[in-house]
Every structure is written in structure tokens, then in C-alpha cells.
């Protein structure tokens, strides 16, 4: 009987040590769920979800402080992906945060720009190029269409334009759906 007890105790100690070592060795620095949620979010960094950027929103979702339907740029697709990831039911986009729009970029009217740098400070992805008292310009490739640069502009020289379409990136439209997908 004592043999059994000592063997079990030994095994317990051994596994405890392995687990303890593994916990230290393979420690996860941040919540992996936040990373996963963040990778689904569209990274416009627009703050329409009421959080200052996509990562804070991802953190809030992971902590259960925010719902999954607060991201207008992501729209239905992001809500479905989040619902899949978190095992929740998808729900319609919360209209409080805005409506889903087609992809846009902003453009600076370079004749009107006075070079105040306010938009540069507002841009979350450093997509505006310029310096004090120099004309500013938007790098359309990098612009996420968050529109955060529009309110600070003192001369209202920033306009929203639809994102440029070119032949190589053209999407074939879906044929008219014949049968509504069963829900």
C-alpha cells in the first residue's frame, strides 16, 4: 500500500514540476483572443465603435465590455466573422455607431490647404504627407477612409472620394439571387 502511495505522490510531484515549468516557459504575454479579434477588425482606426482604435475595441470585446456589432466599416462580414470566432449569434449593425459605407478615401484640395498639420496629427495611420506651412497630400494607398482628418481641417479642404477602382481589382457582381438562402 505504501508503495502505491509513494508512486502516486512521486508521479504527482513530477507532473506538477512539468506543468509548473511549462507555465513559465510557454507563458502567453497577452490575451490571444484579443489578437484574433483584432485580426478580424478592418483596422480603419476610425473610433466609430467609441473605442480609440481597433485594438482597444478588440480588447473590449474580449473583456465582454463591448458588443460585436459596433464596427460600421467592417459591416456584416466582420460581425459574422466575430460571431463565428466567439460562438455568438450574429446581430445587425448597431445604427448608433453609423452605417456601413462603400470603401472611400480622402483627398486634400491642394489649392486650399494652408499647411496647418492638424490633419497629419489626426491621421491614425500616417497616411498624410506634409509639413508646417507646406502643402499636405494624402497617400491614397495607405488611407483607410476613417475620416478622422476631416473635422480638424480649419479650411475644409479634405473631401471624401470613392476608392479608385481599376481593371485588375474589379469584382464580378453577384448574379441576382434566385432563392433566398435559408436562414
Amino acid at each position: 500500500m505504501w508503495t502505491a502511495v509513494s508512486v502516486l505522490a512521486l508521479l504527482g510531484a513530477l507532473f506538477g514540476m512539468i506543468l509548473g515549468y511549462a507555465a513559465v516557459r510557454f507563458r502567453v504575454q497577452s490575451n490571444p483572443l484579443v489578437e484574433k479579434i483584432d485580426s478580424i477588425l478592418p483596422q480603419t482606426q476610425c473610433g466609430q465603435c467609441t473605442f480609440p482604435g481597433c485594438r482597444p475595441y478588440a480588447q473590449a470585446i474580449a473583456d465582454g465590455e463591448a458588443d460585436i456589432n459596433q464596427c460600421p466599416p467592417g459591416g456584416e462580414a466582420v460581425i459574422h466573422a466575430l460571431a463565428d470566432l466567439l460562438g455568438r449569434d450574429p446581430k445587425p449593425l448597431n445604427p448608433e455607431h453609423g452605417a456601413h459605407k462603400e470603401k472611400i478615401v480622402v483627398e486634400i484640395d491642394e489649392d486650399l490647404c494652408i499647411g496647418c498639420t492638424l490633419c497629419i496629427q489626426a491621421c491614425p495611420v500616417d497616411a498624410i504627407l506634409g509639413a508646417a506651412k507646406q502643402m499636405h497630400s494624402v497617400i491614397a494607398e495607405e488611407c483607410t477612409g476613417c475620416e478622422l482628418c476631416i473635422p480638424p481641417c480649419p479650411v475644409d479642404c479634405i473631401y471624401v472620394v470613392p476608392a479608385a477602382q481599376d481593371i485588375n481589382h474589379w469584382k464580378v457582381p453577384s448574379p441576382e439571387p434566385l432563392v433566398q438562402a435559408r436562414s
Binding site: R55, V125, T144, I167, H169, W170, V172, S174, L178
Partner: protein
Amino acid sequence: MSKRLFRFNGGLKLADFKTGSTGQPIVQAPIPPQLILPLQQHIGEPAEACVKPGDTVTRGQEIARARGAISASIHASSSGVVHAIEKRQVSHPSGLLAPCVVIDTDGLDRPQQAPVIIGDAYLQQTPDAVRKLVRAGGIVGMGGAGFPTAVKLKPGPEHGVDLLVLNGAECEPYISCDDMLMRERAPAIIAGARVMMHALGARHAVIAVEDNKPQSMQIMAQAIRDSGAENIELRGIPAIYPAGGEKQLIKVLTGIEIPAQALPINAGIVCHNVATAEAVYRVIYQGEGAVSRVVTLTGNVSQELNLDVRYGTPVEFLLRTYGIDPALVAAITIGGPMMGYSLHAIDAPVSKTTNCIIVKQQGAALPFSNHGGTRPCIRCGNCADVCPVNLLPQQLYWHAQSRDFDKVQDFHLFDCIECGCCDYVCPSHLPLVQYYRFAKTEIWAQEREKEKSDLARQRHEFRQFRLEREKAERAARHKQKAAALQAPSAEEAELAKKKAAIAAALERVKARKAQADTKPRNVDNLSPQQRQLIEEVDARRKQNRQQQKPGPEQKNSDTE
């Protein structure tokens, strides 16, 4: 190689509607007043324009240079003056504008001053040099996809090429440009094929022609005999659509099935169109870049024709030239009825991949184009029976329709060659291929979005890092300054030292003055005379001091 032929799954026997357009020789189409040459007529990077508006160009002059590994140059297809480089309608299913070089032709069609004609001397050139010539000639696959030919003439480091397949199957209905080319320019095709074999290091070549083109086969066989090439073989293959698909053709000829993710080169086989071989011939033997191609003009037209058309000729110009009123045209299909697309704007130009123009006039009927009303899928499975790639079209349709893009890829959407067989046999007239194209482009778009959002995340994170760093740097600077304010500077120390020296000097003066007022020593036992003298001196001194006193006092108060 065995003489046996193989069979791919499914496929269709289609009525070919080719007799009308093969009834007469290829007609030279006139040069239009304005040529519109898109900078991208191929798969890959668009070419970069190297002329400017106002420049005079000659036929065959390079007007846009290939940019990047997978790209093709564009050449002026006639002489004239560059009108503009601007966005114009191009022949593409989207109907979007794309950058083009527009040339006002002068009608003289002047050729280049000194074309580089290699001729049979290509055999002395390295394969790499031949590839460079083909690349400079702007040759792309003319079967429809438009992949730059020079890239497909490179065997790659680990693959030797055993077999060159020249595709003369031309399996789609209506299209007969390759058929006519084989009838009229067979020696050029053979010569081009030999250049290709040299570039590839291929041992054999097989020219595959569908057996519904007996005339072409006869002429090609004669041309092969005349050329004396023993390693080029002509094979007739059964006319089953889509036998002209690259992987289908290879299966028919060799029995080898090219795996889903692989290319024919992995099996040591390279496939080129016969028209591409002819274009290669023109580059090597005539020193002429890609300037024209044969296009079938067919459908509801009075005379079905095969035209030798300069690239950049607007479709509208061709219609008017051959007696078709554009106002009466209901639809124009570019390519065949199975895989083609309808043209949005009639002023779009003929490009390197335009093999057929099918005109549908208002009120006229055209086979293949009468898709009746669509009905729900009845799961009959006809589509799976005819699919030449062994896919499950109805499953693909189901998932594409419900936008389940993961599922649709599980069913190998990207192996679909969009041949349209499933569309053709569907009793419910479902636009199946359009669903697949929709799903494909949607998936690509999602991938691009993902890349873009990853980039945005990176930039946002770097910006935050930068802001933090700037804040830290500013804080550090402030701290340094505050510390500097508290510690006395070297200048101040110097000043303090000087002040101390002055104070010390003043002290010394004061002390001396105090000493001056002390009692004089050594004045005992003096004679009366001496005493009197001393008193006199003392009196004088006193007098002097009283006179001088205000001066030094004033000065002292000033310095303090």
C-alpha cells in the same frame, strides 16, 4: 510517344458555326484614324508608356515598356502621332476605363527605320537571347489569357522541357481565327514553333488540331513535311469542347493529368497557341513586334469574316467598315459564346487577346445567347457530368450563392477553368460561371483587404510607438533643461570669483586704513624739535585726509 489519344471527363459536342467565317481568306482590315492601345493587354504588370503626346511613332515602335518580370511591351501598330495618354474604354468585362496610348494615324503606315531581323540566325543565339527578343516583341499568349510568352518560354531551373504542345484546337464555337491562320500561314507557325523549341530546349513538338478542321490539318502536315522538321508532329484530336483548355489538351495528347496546384511545366510540357507561334515568327524573321492579329467577326453579320486587325482598332470602326450599323447592335461578345464576355462600350479597341467579335443585332436570334429565365437548381447533376475538371458545380454554385467563401474553396473553386459547360447543360439556366467568377474575384478582394488592413495595423502601431517615443524624448529634454537651470554655469562661477576677489581687496584696503589710525610707534624720548615736526606732519596729513575723504567714500558706495 504513343499514337493513342486520351479522354478527359465530361466536355460537350457543340455545333461549331465556323463554316461562314472560314469560307474566304483572311481580309486585311483598314487602319483606323485613331488607334487606342491599352497599356495592359496581358496578365501581369501594365507596361509603362515611353512616348509622350505629340511624339511621332512608326509601325512596330515600342511605345510602352514591359515593367516587372511578368509583363509585355506595347508597340505602335501603325505610324502616326501620339494624341494622348489617357484613360479610355478597353475591352474588359468590367467596362472600367484603363490607361491607353492613343495614336492619330497618318495613313502612311511607315515601318521602323532599321528593324532587327534575326532570321535563321536565332539558332546561334542563346535561349535567353531569344526570350529577350520575344519579350521585346511584346508577344503574349493569343489563345485568350494573354500570359506573356517570354515567361512561358523559360523552362525554369529544375524543369527540363520535353514536349512543346502547340494548341490549334480552337474548340469554342464561332471562333475560326486559328483555323484560318493555320491554312494561310502554316510555314510561319512551324518556323515559330522551332524558335520556341530552341528557347525551351524542347525535344519534341506536337501540333494539336481538332478533327473538324481537315483543311488546316492537311496544310499543316504539308508544311511540317516541307520544313523537314522530324521532331514536330501533327495530331488530330476529337472535337470535344473544351479540348483547347491547356490541361485538357495535355490530358488528351499524353494521358498526363496535371495536378490542381501544378503547371504543365512540372510535367516537362509547355503549351502555346498556334497564333502565338506565328507572332514569335514575325518577331524573329520580320523584326516586327506585336502589331496585329487575326480576329473572327461573326454573329448577325452579312458576311462572316476573319480579319487581320491592327491592335488598337476600335470595334466600332470594324463594325462600320464591314457594314454593321452600331445603332442596331444589341450586344457584342468578345471571345467565344462559352467563355467570352459582353463588351460594355463599342469604342473599346481590339487587343492582343481579342480572338473573336460576335455581333448580336437587335431582334435577331443567336445560338448560345438565349438564356431563358432562371429557375431553382433541381440538383440533376448534369453539370458534374460535363465538368472537364471533375468539380461539383452545383455545390460550388450553392456555396458561392450563399457567399460561403471558405466552403467554395473546399470544393476547389480555383481549379475551375470557367469553360461554361455546366452553364450550357443546366436545365434551370443558372448563370453558374458568373457565380464562380463572382466568388473568385470576391475572395481575391478579401485577400487584398486583409493585406491592406494588416498594413494599416502596422502603420497604426508604429505611429503609436512613434508618439510614445516622441513624448519620452520631450520629457527627457525638459528634465535636462531643468537640471541645467539649477546648477551654476561656468560664467556665473567666473563672475562669483571676480566678486570675491574684489571683496577681498576691499577688505585689505579697509584693514590698512584701520591700521593707519593706530598710534604711531617709536615716539618716546623725542626732542621738542622732533615732536614739533611730527605734529606739523600730522596736522598736514589730517588736513589732506579731510580733503580727500569724500572721494574714496563715494567710490566705495558706488562699487557696492
